[in-house]
Every structure is written in structure tokens, then in C-alpha cells.
Amino acid sequence: MRLASLSAKVRQAIDWRLPVTAAILSAAFLPILWSVISSLKAESLPEMLGMLHGPFLGALRRSLILMTAVVAGSLAVGWPGGTLLGLVEFPGRRVLLASLAVPLFTPSFLWAIGLSSFRPFLAYRHQWWLDGFPGAFLTGVVQTFPLVVFAALLGARTLPASLLEAAQLAGGFWGFFKASSRFSLPAGLGASVLGGVLALADPGPAQIMGYHGIASEILIAFSARYDAGLAARKALLMTMVLLPVVLAVSWKVSLWSEARLLGREMRKANRRFEGILPAVTVLGFVFIYVALLSPALVGLTRPLKGAQTADALQYGLTVLKQSAGTTLRYGFTAAVVATVLGIVLSLTCGRCHPFRLTVLLFSFLVLSLPPSLHALGFAGMAAQLPKSFDWFMRGGNAVGIAFGLRLSPIPALFCLRAWSVMPESCHQVAVLHGVPAFQYLWRVALPQLAPAMAGSLLLVALVSIADVSSTLLLLPPGAGTFTSRIFGVIDNASERILSGLCVVYVLSGFILVGFFAIVEALWRRRLGGSR
């Protein structure tokens, strides 16, 4: 009887899940689809096949090499680092975590310019380290490894205490660390692939460093030929080539996540360690972290010396005052839209494996396509719609809405993972007692998803604030975000002004993230202890 009731529930769930999942995925994909469809002609297929010649394939190969290297590099630094930060409590841990968010909200072209400006500190024969592949790789790793750190940290924080205590008893700190690392690997790998895909789709650093990948090919179609259709077709071709790789990784990570993370004991292990080994490993990670970030930061701040430094900083503060409201508003809107869509997606998928896999696949697809393509599709749709839609498609929140749609896969991934670690027993009890679905979601599921929601809100806000190319295409006339203002002066403003802007941007972002970290700490304290 009970089983029959459960089966009916499942059937009912599939009935509404499918259209809801399809609707959200379509909404996220629609602007890209618009760009692609409006660019397709009768002769498009032969033309696309014709593109598959030497330079295109060469660029694709280079992009795949870069992506693989970024995935490997960021995983090598971020996975153990994140696991360590998830396991060991030490003074200044929260400050370190807040500072790790800096690369996420700083536009990639600034890191590339920073690295490029670091050249004078190196002898000419060593400057190749910042050219071509090494430069693009370094920029990619700097931007991706914090994502891996946070993902691995979250993975390590949800480990079953009994397992860890057993590992600790058997192998001491190393045993504890190794056992934790195995659990945080899927999350770390997923994040590194995500970062690698984002690095592959970003033309800025590659252009600055002189590494001609597929993103540069697409940029040439956009900015040298002014042919968005050609860019769309190239992007489509790239996606078709990438699809098997993305599919394989999504499948593996999905299976791995389920095998490792589903329903288990949630008691937390003791995270206070005595002895020199934990301290040395933490110091080692901090050293690598500083070594990775400092060249770009030193390069960016190098021109700030002499009497005009105060003027440059003053200019930065003026721009901050003028653009902070708009920047935060767009970030907030993007975060809310993406997180709401992500939660709904994760709820519709639940524990249904085909659904989860579909969402994972679409997530990587949407994120791997160039942001400009999405933004241009959005702008093109807005131009075709009647004027009465302008408040939605061209108003102040259009930037946030477009970002929210494109980045909705990020919260979806976060919430899918959070949903999978919720004990299934909760759900079964609710079903057995006939608890209304909405009540169950409101009182049981959402509080459990809260940390993932908070994390994705922050991450989407940071990533969308850092983006420039989409913002420029969607920004309502007269408005300006901080990053678009920086972009507006990079070509001709003095180095000092650019440095002043960068310093103010990074510091204000750091303060903002620090504020969130403090609020989060107070919230946890109010709930009675660390999670």
C-alpha cells in the first residue's frame, strides 16, 4: 500500500518535473539558441564543416590543452588546499577564505594585465613565463583554484565523523587528511572542470598573453568581422566537439558524487589538531597561494608610487561612489535569479539520476559557451520584442536577469549536491505521513539547502560582477558598473589611474566579502556552533 503510494508520488513528480526542468533549462539556453538559430542558414552546415580545417582545429586543440592544464593545475593546488581549510581550524582562517574570493570577483583581463605588468621584475630571458601558454595558464589557474578550494572545502566539511575519527586513530593527521581528500575530490574535480571550461570560453587573457585558442577565433568573428552569426556557428562547432568530453566528465562526477555523498551520518568530526604537521601544511598552502597571486597584484600596483598616488586612489574612490550601487544591484539580481532557478532545478531533479545528469550536462554546456553569445542573443531578443517588454529586457535589471539565466547552472550544481547529502529518510517520513510538499520544502528542505544557497548567491554575485563583455552588451544606457568603468579606461588612461582603480576595486570587494564572512559567522554562532 505504502509502496504503491510512493510509486504514485514518483509518477506525479515526473509529471511536473519534466516540464519545469525543461522550462528552466530552455530559459537559460534561450538567448544562445536565439543567436545560433538566427545565424543558421541553408548553407550553414557545409560552412560549419568547412571550418573544421587546420587553424580552427589547431585553436581548438590549444584550448583543450589550456583547459586540461588549468583543470590539472587548479586541482593540484585547490583540492588539497580546500580539504585542508575544511579540516583544520587556525587563527586567520576566515580572513584567508575571504581573500580567496578576490580572484573570483576580479575580471580575468585585470589578472592578465597584472601578470603582463610584472614583466619588468623579470630578466628578459625569463619573461617567456608570462607569454603565450604559460601566461594564459597562470591566469586561468589564479582564477580557478579558489573555486576548487571552496568546492573541496564544502566537500570536506560534510564528512562523516565516524569515518574520519577512525582514519585519525589509524593514521593520525595524514590518515585524516587522505580520507577527507577522497571525499572532497568529486566536488573539487567538478569545480576545476567548471573553471577550465570558463577559462576556455574567455578570450581576454588569451588575447593579452598571445595564446590563440578557440575563444580568440570566436572573438575575431565578433570584433574583426562583426559577424555574430559566424561567431555563433564557431561556438556551436566548439560545443559539438567539446560535448563528448563534457558528457564524460559530467557522467563521472555525477556517479562519483552519488556514490560518495549520499545519505550518511552527519555528525562532524573534531577539527582541532595539535602538532607541527598541520601548521606546516597550512603554511605551505598559504605560501603557494601568495606565490600565485602576488605577481599579478604586484604588477597591477607597481605604478602606484610617488606624489600622484593619492590622486589615483581618490579617482578610484570617486568611481566606486558612482558605480557601487549599480554594480551591487546587478550582482544581487543575478544572484537571486540564478539561485531561485538553481533551487527549483535541484528540487525537480532530486535524486533522479537521468534528470541530474541532464542538468549537469546542460550546466557545463551553458557555461562553456562564450558569455558574449548569450548576451548578444539576449540583446537581439529584446530588440525583436515589443516595447512593452523593455522594462524587463532592457531595464536596469536586464543585466542581472541575463547573468542569472546564464549562471543558473552554478547554484543548480551547488543545490544538487546539497540535496544529495540530505538523508533520504526525511523525505520518506514526510511521504509516509502525507506532509504537503510545500510544507516539507519550506520547513525541512530549504533550511538544509540554506548553506548551498548562501554559497551560490555569493559566487554568482562575484562572477557576474567580474564579467565585462556581457555587461557592455546589456548595460542600460547611462548606467555603469565598476568593472565596466575600469574597462573604459584601460586603453588610454595612465597606468597610475588604472592601478588606483584596481586597488580600490580589490579592496572594496575584499571588504564586502569580509562583511559577508562576518555575518555568516555570527549567524552560525547564533545557531549554536560551527557546521
Partner: protein, 384 residues
């Protein structure tokens, strides 16, 4: 139907000890939800208000510009002060890291938001003309501007100009002869010591198209080939050329006059020359202003164009840090150039056909050349 208390009991009984959701969490969730709802309503309100502001068409003009913030914004503010018409500005740069406003204009062609496009060079304006996005407007303020550079039907009008210059690092060239021609880039003495920006983008692309026009196909191709042989480094942008020459990574670089001016203002140890004064001349890169067809505020757009083309605006651009050369002979040249426009030998390149020429080059020779520079030559198919 079970009550809330039974639900709570059932839920707590079903979960292990540490899985329980504290009551405070639920209370906080409720508070956060209310907060999120209020914030959502606020955002919708803001959006509607902004949309209403956008529909107040008579007091605004929407300007898209690829000119730098530092020069475009103050001039727009001056216009607003004089006319009480608010300028709503969207800025881009010539840097090659974004898709660019031109693509936005193309995407918005059906129902444009922009009234005016203020381009840093006339080629982008000519592209808009080719795509049917510009509308003709012959401004009365254009009197006194040389006719040959602008479109005769008024699809775009050129005014204040930059020039393509060669900058050099004075410390590295101390005691040596300064470059005098763009052909010095292929001179053996600068082998591996010269740089230029990617010729597929920005003013460097215009320069490339001008070279093809003035030198002819064969000589231009040979010039580019010899750039490769002389190990001239291709960088991402003119700004990067300036940075690398100032840093001493290269002795000379081909860039824009405003880049040279910025470096000199910062006290960088560089010098510059207007190339080919004894030969084919220096390339003039004027600004160009375009009236967008079907823009929402056509009358205000015309007033803005009139303002930009006025002698006062040219004067302001000449005196500001932009150091742009006025095209009207009666306006004093910026100190940076040291001589009036009439005394400078200019390249005799026709702007109007450049857009088509550039499009052809971008999918032909220049694309191949860039790929060659990026080390993709070996991957290229045998012939095109």
C-alpha cells in the same frame, strides 16, 4: 491531515541527532524569505522606474562610444550643461577583449536604443553604414571640416583626429638614430626589438587597410611578411604596445598618438615620431560620429552631433589630455604634435572603401598573418 506539531515530531524522529534543523534556522529562513521578497519587490519597482525614465524620450540622448571614458564623459557633460539634455552614455574601448559595442548596435538594429555612435575611428562608422544601421545627417556645424574624410551623404562625419605614431624607448635608443618610417620596423637594426598591436582590431586594422590601399596588395603583403621575418612582436592592443615599450621590452612600437601622449604625461622615457614624413605620410585617425537610423531621440541626437562637430568641441579635444588634432586649420594644434595639421604629410588613404577592404583582409591575408604570428602557420590548410 496531520498538524504542524506532528510533522515536527515525525521529522525530528526520522533524522539522526545532528541532522535536526534547529528552530532558529526556520525562523531565520522565514526572515530571510521575507527580506528576499521585499528586495525582489524593490528591484521590480526600480526596474519599472528606470523603464519609465527611459521612455521619457525628449530630454535624453543615448550615445554609444568607443572613445575613452576620460575624454568622452567630460565632453558629454559639457553638452548636458549647455543644452540641458541628459546624455546617457555606453562606453567601450578599442581593446580587443570584448565583443564590442558595434555588435550590440548590430544586434539592436531592429529597434535600436542608441541615438548616436561616436567612434574613435571612421572605419567602424563605415561598417555601420554598410550594415544599414546609420542614417544620413549633414550637420550645419560640419562647415570648416575637410570634406574628403567624411561620407558625402552624411552617413558619418569625421572630426578631431589622432595619428599613428612610432614610439621609442629613449634609454634603449640613446645615441642611436630614431626611427623615421614604419619601414624601420622591418630594418635589421630593430630585429626582435619592435612591436605592434593585432592588425585585426582597432586602429591597427585601419592602418593595415590604409597600407594595402597606398602600397598596393603585393607591397603591403611583402611588408607584413617582412615584419614576421624581422621578428616584430604582435601584442594585444595599442595600450600594451605603449606599456611594453615604456617597460623597455621593445625599443620601438607602432601605436596611436594618444597612447604616446599618456606615456609622456606620466614621465615615461619615450619619444615619438610621425612616421614617413619624407615618404607616404602619417595615417590620420579621425573620430567619426554617426546618427543611428530609427534611434528613439533623433532630434536630440542631431543636437549632440552638432555639438561634437562644433569648433569648440574640437578645441576642447585639442587642449585636453586627448591631444587630438583639430581638423579645422584655424584651431591651434596640441603641443604634443608641435606643428599644425597643414605642415604634416598625411597618408592619402580613402576611408570610405576601407570597411569593405578590411572585411576582406580580416578573412583573408590578415587572418593568415595573425595565425602565423601566433604560431598556427603550420596548422593552416595549404591554400585559400
Amino acid at each position: 491531515m496531520i498538524g504542524p506539531n506532528q510533522l515536527e515530531t515525525a521529522r525530528l524522529e526520522s533524522c539522526p541527532q545532528r541532522e535536526r534543523v534547529p528552530a532558529q534556522t526556520q525562523s531565520l529562513t522565514r526572515k530571510w524569505s521575507r527580506g528576499a521578497l521585499l528586495a525582489g519587490l524593490f528591484l521590480v519597482g526600480c526596474n519599472r522606474r528606470e523603464s519609465e525614465q527611459q521612455s521619457r524620450v525628449h530630454s535624453d540622448v543615448v550615445v554609444y562610444s568607443s572613445v575613452d571614458d576620460a575624454y568622452a564623459r567630460p565632453l558629454c557633460e559639457r553638452f548636458s550643461q549647455v543644452t540641458k539634455i541628459k546624455v546617457r552614455l555606453v562606453l567601450d574601448t578599442e581593446e580587443t577583449k570584448s565583443t564590442g559595442l558595434l555588435n550590440r548596435l548590430i544586434a539592436e538594429k531592429t529597434r535600436p536604443q542608441a541615438d548616436v555612435f561616436w567612434s574613435g575611428d571612421p572605419v567602424r562608422a563605415a561598417v555601420l553604414q554598410r550594415k544599414g544601421i546609420s542614417a544620413p545627417y549633414l550637420s550645419p556645424q560640419a562647415r570648416g571640416l575637410p570634406a574628403g574624410i567624411s561620407d558625402p551623404q552624411g552617413q558619418f562625419t569625421a572630426f578631431s583626429a589622432r595619428m599613428r605614431v612610432i614610439i621609442f624607448n629613449q634609454k634603449l635608443l640613446e645615441g642611436k638614430k630614431a626611427p623615421a618610417s614604419i619601414f624601420d620596423l622591418i630594418a635589421p637594426r630593430f630585429r626582435g626589438k619592435a612591436c605592434l598591436a593585432n592588425p585585426l582590431f582597432g586602429t591597427t586594422s585601419m592602418h593595415a587597410a590604409a597600407l594595402f590601399q597606398v602600397l598596393g596588395q603585393e607591397k603591403a603583403k611583402e611588408f607584413f611578411q617582412r615584419l614576421t621575418e624581422n621578428k616584430v612582436k604582435m601584442l594585444s592592443s595599442n595600450g600594451e604596445v605603449r606599456r611594453r615599450v615604456v617597460a623597455g621590452d621593445f625599443e620601438i612600437g607602432l601605436t596611436d598618438s594618444d597612447d604616446a601622449n599618456v606615456a609622456l604625461k606620466e614621465g615615461a622615457p619615450i619619444g615619438f615620431v610621425l612616421p614617413d614624413q619624407d615618404g607616404m605620410g602619417t595615417l590620420l585617425v579621425p573620430n567619426a560620429v554617426v546618427l543611428i537610423a530609427g534611434g528613439p531621440n533623433a532630434e536630440n541626437a542631431k543636437r549632440f552631433i552638432d555639438f561634437l562637430l562644433s569648433p569648440e568641441s574640437e578645441q576642447w579635444l585639442a587642449e585636453s589630455e586627448a591631444a587630438q588634432m583639430a581638423l579645422r586649420g584655424e584651431i591651434a594644434p596640441p603641443k604634443f604634435f608641435g606643428r599644425p595639421l597643414g605642415e604634416i604629410r598625411l597618408m592619402k588613404a580613402d576611408v570610405a572603401p576601407m570597411a569593405a577592404q578590411l572585411e576582406e583582409l580580416a578573412q583573408g591575408f590578415l587572418e593568415e598573418w595573425v595565425q602565423q604570428q601566433m604560431g598556427l602557420a603550420a596548422e593552416r590548410r595549404p591554400s585559400r
